[in-house]
Symmetry: C2
Subunit: 150 residues, 2 copies
DNA sequence: GAATCTAGTTCTATTTTAGAACCAGAATCA
DNA sequence: TGATTCTGGTTCTAAAATAGAACTAGATTC
């Protein structure tokens, strides 16, 4: 059967995953953050099948994450650029990156690092803060339902 | 063909997605943060097929995200609890939640809110900071490759 | 002791994904 | 200018992932 959709889910996490949770989507977005724009660049950089890339790019454009614009090199081709909505996925990518760095490499394995453009120092770790600036651990938070209950 | 694996990718984002990027995985983790522990609870809460849930839970245990422990109610059953590695996915979930809240609801639609347990105020937005405390936008960061180049 | 609940397993049907082959229009080369 | 190559796809097949129903053994409750 068709994969179950979360598009109309109550939970924002589920809706996000419905929009950008299929295989390849976030890697395409990651590449877009790294300046990749053209179909062939994505294809070669990711090693993805062309047919798959075609449908993923179409889906991401439909989802409002990417825009299809005239190529910036003046050619008759087009290129894919992040929309505002797409750029706002930056934190998702950074969170995935930090978790991966922390848990998915052996001691002796090197990995790339996200640094700030000016100082070239690694960015600091993401943290959840309360409205009044306290650091919050996962068990110091709660979900309040839409209706205000719980 | 078998879906392409990113387990040995250089990029931490790709490795993360390989580990927790398949359909349902992060929703199971989200439920675990909400205190869901038992097989039947996950199954009913998510509306997932039992067979799918079985393989996802097995994968997450294999990945070190969940642990299978004796049920806390004293029965002979068992329950799934987040490991340290799993708890560290909190930021990923929060980032997905905030993006979804911002971009995937109509004006008139309500959604649940993440609040701090004490004050019951919504948590503040995630932000990327430089080592010296400046807020960084996506285009104020760079990726430095593992070998130190670029 | 019987009925029900829990946590699965197994099966089939459909959808997704990977990969190769093909193709038309744009750009480059000679 | 014409031939060749590059770009950005489309189409096809085969294998894997997912959904859902049916079934089951052991634990718990009635």
């Amino acid at each position: 059967m068709k994969r179950k959709s979360f598009r109309e889910a109550e939970c924002p996490v589920a809706r996000s995953l419905d929009a950008i949770g299929d295989w390849w989507s976030l890697l395409i977005v990651r590449d877009a953050f790294d300046g990749i724009k053209r179909f062939s660049e994505f294809q070669q950089n990711l090693g993805i099948a062309k047919g798959m890339l075609t449908t993923r790019l179409r889906d991401l454009v439909e989802a409002g994450v990417l825009n299809l614009a005239p190529a910036s090199d003046g050619s008759a081709y087009r290129e894919y650029v992040l929309t505002d909505k797409g750029r706002n996925l930056f934190l998702v990518i950074v969170a995935l990156r930090q978790w991966g760095e922390d848990h998915l490499y052996r001691e002796d394995e090197k990995h790339s690092v996200l640094v700030d453009a000016d100082e070239r120092n690694p960015v600091s770790r993401l943290t959840v803060y309360s409205a009044d600036g306290r650091q919050l651990a996962w068990d110091e938070t709660r979900i309040v339902a839409a209706n205000g209950a719980q």
